[in-house]
Symmetry: C2
Subunit: 462 residues, 2 copies
Amino acid sequence: MAKGDKINFSTPSGFPEFLPSEKRLELYLLDIIRRVFESYGFTPIETPAVERLEVLQAKGNQGDNIIYGIDPILPPNRQAERDKSGETGSEARALKFDQTVPLAAYIARHLNELTFPFARYQMDVVFRGERAKDGRFRQFRQCDIDVVARRELSLLYDAQMPAIITEIFKAINIGDFLIRINNRKVLTGFFKSVGITEDKIKSCIGIVDNLEKIGETKVKQELEKEGISGEQTQKIIDFIKIDGSVDEVLDKLKHLAENLSETEQLSLGITELQTVIAGVRNLGVAENRFCIDLSIARGLDYYTGTVYETTLLGHEALGSICSGGRYEELVGVFLGEKMPGVGISIGLTRLISRLLKAGILSTLAATPAQVMVVNMQEDLMPTYLKISQHLRQAGINVITNFDKRPLGKQFQLADKQGIQFCVIIGSEEVAAQKSSLKDLKTGEQVEVLLVDLAEEVKKRLG
Amino acid sequence: MAKGDKINFSTPSGFPEFLPSEKRLELYLLDIIRRVFESYGFTPIETPAVERLEVLQAKGNQGDNIIYGIDPILPPNRQAERDKSGETGSEARALKFDQTVPLAAYIARHLNELTFPFARYQMDVVFRGERAKDGRFRQFRQCDIDVVARRELSLLYDAQMPAIITEIFKAINIGDFLIRINNRKVLTGFFKSVGITEDKIKSCIGIVDNLEKIGETKVKQELEKEGISGEQTQKIIDFIKIDGSVDEVLDKLKHLAENLSETEQLSLGITELQTVIAGVRNLGVAENRFCIDLSIARGLDYYTGTVYETTLLGHEALGSICSGGRYEELVGVFLGEKMPGVGISIGLTRLISRLLKAGILSTLAATPAQVMVVNMQEDLMPTYLKISQHLRQAGINVITNFDKRPLGKQFQLADKQGIQFCVIIGSEEVAAQKSSLKDLKTGEQVEVLLVDLAEEVKKRLG
């Protein structure tokens, strides 16, 4: 075994792994997210981790991302098979870096087997060659939903997204959050209306999107550098500083549109925003959970309508904890079809890591076991096994302690893993068909008839 | 978009993906498996998809497997960053090909943060450059449990494995199955006792392990080729043909041991087998669910004690649907420690694919939605949204149909996706605060007060 000593067995930089208490938290969150996604009829899919390189690079969708190609490594004794194995590596393949390009490929692959509007969720891990730094990982899990249509897609799908975000974060119970809603047509329409030429709109939106990060003065400077006039710049600043209640913002926007020319797109954007907001209200999302924020644009080029960001109040530095928007020409790329869609994404690995660090979330117990049946007398093991099975049948998670140790040590072992209850049975208890149930949290110990044990534990677990 | 047309958007060969109805089946099975694993106190972990190559190749553990190395591909606009990105590819990394080597690395990485015996489950995907053929995939999900100790590990952990296998496959409801149990010490001990030299025992076990596949005559020939004498061969054949009830097999084995010499290891194996069987019985596993099968050995070198295979009766050609065993020198490899462990594995992707093909399992509905609130009158949409939310709050999965279509088309759309109920509400129903509830399976349609709707749907869903 000496050989093993020299191996660097640490994880490769940027590839995280969780302790059991953290992985259990992740599963707990995934269960909540999945439940909410499914309650709106989103159905699960999973695309392979590996796609053809040309698929990942379609339409320049690799973007700025470093992706990982894969290449077969044969074991020493099979070098001769290289040609026979079918794994010659001649076909370039790489690990997926997001779930949008694979969704587009999935839809193209299964077009006739899917029902549209196609509403899917996907909670796979993706891979990016990010520089590994605080909260940035090279492998991370994303929880995405998208609904995609072949022709028209109702704006009410856009309205459902804030309702879904609200339910998820209420259930996760991480405090107050605010969903900021905007519409890219409002932005581009406004820029057009103040006379910014088509070729500059994209960079102007990029500058405005950074308002929160860089501040007003810097935004002005950057706009100036783009050759935007002082008058236009002032209009832009006034525009993105429009605030107030949702209705106030909508009123101000409509009023603004009245005083501008070429407002076709701006007006369309305002109407869309109004429709979405009405839907959000009809879905019962509380007024304090959402707002219109004209400064958000989402960096990505492909958004064409509604966009969302979600801020955890009091923890704004965390950035958006759930974002997304509507697009038109994203998922139809392999089919040469326009397919409107709207989606949101939760970067779960990063979110967990940051919420744990900020003390907003806590890890769970290290084991799902709720009860330890302790080993008091080796000769009673058959009884311990039977009682353990009895409790399991009642839906309780049980560890039977097989090792002979002092009782105190066994309680310690249970407590260390976060097991709340110990079941203690000696000859006396067997004779009386009862057990001692010890609550390690309170120290309390009660006698319970074996026939009542499962019910008693379930009652105490709540 | 013309460019997109030319891209081959199919999945790379051997990398499978599921339709929603299949992915939902996988999640359904994963939920069952997880529930059973957790009921025995196994805790979840997930190791990264990527490990250092030297870790995967430690102790020659790459085995016969073709594994996939990964290599960063920079986007065209970032070529200059190669040196700065930290992604120079100088550190060889590859995708994990099983979950045992990563478990060993995980334990080494977190030794002081884990509690032993460490009982973990892991349900990740792994990657192997298999020739892609029927039921063999290059990416597949494995559901593994292992319990690992730092010194001694009770044989009762071995006894729990058949109990766990039984509960899982009973819950999945795929018909009768038989767990075949053996002990490697019985095998090696027996071979030693009949005078087979140490250097030949491994290949003899390999030959015997193939009995079911190649038949008795071929086994004899192969043993002869190994230089095993006719007399020894006959003893071996007699040995592996020992059958009968569990107790009969144990009796015959003990009787056999009495007539052989150098039976220390054989006797130890028989004692272990006896202890495990007693535990299996105390855990309440029905007698018809398990047997002792002296011919099974599990190909892998690392097993040292109990071994398991599980056969689906009437579908023996599927091969073992759940296998595993006990090992001593596997997971301590990076620490230079002996760490006894016992584990089992379900190759879920392959199992689902084969059970679907054999008609043993069926896919689920294409959507988790149980109700569609149809769009009867566009102006009633606010009501439809509210009722949808009301049903969701009651734990029902709902799709609200936003698109205007004839009612018949909407029913079709629901039925196609496997949605059982449609909720139909027009002005009349709103006035009377009721709805029509249509069961698409039976065609039955009933009137239900809105206030009773959630309860009625839940009752009918069962």
